[in-house]
Symmetry: C2
């Protein structure tokens, strides 16, 4: 009897081949334990509101009014909404053609794309064209759209940092392309060595792979490093020489927890370098409302900006975007609010600054608490989280533990993370889900658990870890960088 199209054996191989560890084995086991009544601390996803972070008030007031425009005519509306939120809601409703229930332009509301362009100009000091900015249902969907344009088949390669955020590995295999890894140096604070890049490209080409694009995640996920301006210049020069498109994933640009390396966009560095390179390198930059101090993941709002992309290609990207009609309009308004927040003198300004600073400063403290907590544990080393939302400690597993993992049919870091979950309820993502060097093991947590819970979480981690290390202690050494 012939197979039916949705029989497992008959499915598109690309679908079966892709993996997405962030919601993989650990997450599924944690969800089971949660259903059985165990208290689970989900540190597997950068999902701040799920871990108690409060939404910023002003944006929610504006979008709440946009969802219920009839409130604007209610005589009592001023009793529960501030005047500047009411004015802003009227502004955004005027940018739509029929409110939040109408499809917008498939590229997003022109008025919001203009606000994004103005934000980029203020940030970078260079012009930005709203016609080259597309709003998307989250940055992830934008990345998928662009990779779909770039990948033509298995022989097309995409340079991706390792450790990497598995959106890239999953999407590349879903589209039938090839991931070309370039390794970040843990001993160099996850720095990037251009020679290493050249080796990766040369090796890929020797295997008949056409390397087409390069991904950078700045600040890094899961590794948390902030790229220096010099590093970005080197990368842009490399992309120019190799004629690669640079995909700049900059979704954590608000999440900076040190002052030595502030965020600088790839767009700004490219423009600073001047012609000919500033007109030569094809660059797509991604941003989102899901991260930063907004954390509005569930709204699914993002954008990408295109630099040096030929007009005919922009038309093709527009055509493909139009197939799904439009991104959700509610999240487009969140994006407009994020790039043009309340200004000094606005009624809601003080509250907005107080709330956003409060979140950012707490994240900064939690980054430090978690790094120090991990570094206090036996056989654990952890680079400081300079940016983004994650800690990525290296766990130096004793060979007895590695042996036990093999017997259990598990990758060693999955083995460790499952034990951690069962013992403490802390649900993490094994480093193998992000890629790591052979024989080196990590796990990723977010720095998002509530600040007041952090000491207890780190204590319970330490207790588990040190008992684990004793249980599997042996004299034959540990996995090591």
């Amino acid at each position: 009897m012939s197979l039916k199209a949705l029989d497992y054996e008959s499915l598109n191989e690309n679908v079966k081949n892709c993996q997405y560890a962030v919601r993989g084995e650990l997450y599924l086991r944690a969800s089971e334990l949660q259903k059985e009544g165990k208290k689970i601390i989900f540190t597997n996803v950068g999902n701040p509101h799920a871990l108690g972070q409060k939404p910023l008030t002003f944006p929610r007031q504006v979008v709440s009014l946009c969802q219920a425009p009839f409130l604007l005519d209610d005589p009592n509306v001023g009793m529960i909404f501030p005047a500047d939120a009411i004015a802003r809601a009227k502004h955004y409703l005027s940018l739509t053609s029929g409110g939040l229930g109408a499809y917008s332009d498939s590229r997003g509301l022109p008025g919001v794309r203009k606000e994004v362009a103005e934000f980029i100009e203020r940030r970078d000091g260079y012009p930005s064209d709203p016609e080259l900015i597309f709003l998307t249902d989250g940055a992830s969907k934008g990345v998928m759209q662009i990779l779909n344009c770039v990948i033509r088949g298995q022989k097309d390669g995409i340079l991706v940092p390792v450790p990497q955020y598995p959106l890239y590995s999953a999407t590349i295999s879903l589209l039938g392309g090839t991931l070309v890894p370039y390794y970040l140096e843990e001993s160099e604070n996850w720095g990037l060595d251009v020679n290493n890049l050249r080796q990766s490209v040369a090796q890929a080409r020797s295997q008949g792979i056409t390397v087409r694009a390069m991904v950078i995640i700045n600040p890094g996920n899961p590794t948390g490093q902030c790229l220096s301006e010099a590093n970005i210049r080197e990368i842009l020069r490399f992309c120019c020489d190799e004629r690669l498109v640079l995909l700049g994933d900059e979704v954590y640009q608000q999440n900076i927890y040190q002052d030595e390396r502030p965020f600088i966009s790839s767009k700004k560095v490219l423009m600073d370098m001047g012609a000919p390179i500033s007109k030569e390198v094809q660059l797509i930059s991604f941003h989102t409302v899901s991260k930063g101090y907004w954390g509005e993941c569930g709204q699914r709002g993002g954008y990408f900006e295109m630099t040096n992309i030929p007009p005919r290609t922009v038309e093709e990207i527009y055509k493909v975007a139009s197939i799904a009609l439009s991104p959700n309009v509610s999240a487009q308004i969140f994006m407009g609010l994020m790039v043009s927040p309340p200004k000094p003198g606005d009624i809601s300004y003080d509250q907005f600054v107080r709330e956003s600073k409060g979140i950012l400063e707490s994240l900064r403290r939690r980054a430090r608490m978690m790094t120090d907590g991990f570094n206090s544990c036996k056989n654990v080393v952890c680079n400081f989280t300079e940016g983004a939302m994650y800690s990525f400690p290296q766990i130096k597993l004793p060979s007895k533990a590695i042996q036990a993992a093999k017997q259990a049919g598990k990758v060693p870091d999955v083995f460790y993370c499952l034990k951690l979950l069962e013992a403490t309820g802390i649900s993490t993502v094994p480093g193998s889900g992000f890629g790591q060097k052979e024989g080196v093991f990590h796990l990723r947590t977010t720095i998002l658990p509530a600040e007041e819970e952090m000491p207890e979480i780190m204590d319970s981690f330490k207790k588990f870890n040190d008992e684990f290390m004793s249980q599997y202690a042996d004299n034959f050494g540990y996995s090591r960088m």
Copy 2:
């Protein structure tokens, strides 16, 4: 000099090959004219709120409160929100893990999926499992997800009704598959003849195509017909014999404007047929908040239900869904509200019924007005819009007009629609964007312009058409069915 990845010539061919007429040449020309100040009536997209349809009040009150949960503690909240909306907002917030800003389960909030299953049970009288219901960012994204599982390469064919909604043709070519057309019979009120289906499959197989799935759109888009129970039974038996997955696009199930053929879901017919066929045919049914009397297109909310799909395949679909983290949570709440609207005795019940009945009855009148209006025009014949949101009149073009179109380098119906747009501002979609028989021409409009504007719109259409027919009148006959 080698091409760069985002140079037009170097793009993924599948991206370049796909077409999406709904936002194609006519839409782009209409947008230009609008920018030049011309009044445009956009009848190209089923986008009710953009044409003045008011959103239903109760759902907007609930989602507005969910976006601003701090309002629930405001002593004045009862002055502008009814008690049942407040209670419902608390209910939906309790189903989330962190409110609308937190990613949900990649399949959608379990609590909402349960409400969808209960809706399907009430509608069909058969059990529905929430674990086999996935919420999506609109039905379109769900269709794309499933087609991505089914299509493995160019030799995989998907049976699609012609005329069809170009989401299918665009997605099939974007995924590198092959569209296998089956023609609906305009003279039989767009009915479907199973023999015609067998011919299409046989012909495709003769060209080495593996036909994997069949799409039905019920009620039809753009053709507006409602499938009879007998028709659906035939289709299910055909899919069983040919071992095809049936994709049931049922997004217009609320939009029914006649009483002879009420909506009946493919799921119900399949279950009514009993074993073995009820356990044999793989069926995916799609629904949305964008259509019906909700028209909440911009929210991007939808679901698909899986019937007879193997568990391992469900896991693969879940894995791919998790790559983009989660559908937007705000629209998931709209979906919950749509499947469990206010009940008799609820404070908002009367208002909800008054509003929804008002919209549906007006749509019914507009369907009749438009059909009669087109049928009053020279050389135009139009089947009654039994369901959905569109009119699809056949325009019998004089050969002189066909000649003029060729000279202008245009497909004849595009030529006609561009002239219509320039003369009247009515922006339609040429029939060629949906597929039609050789030498037969149509255009699609929506029935969504405001009821009070409809007479004037049909008059200006008639004036244009009759002048056009006189201008290009000749003695050599017309394009004809």
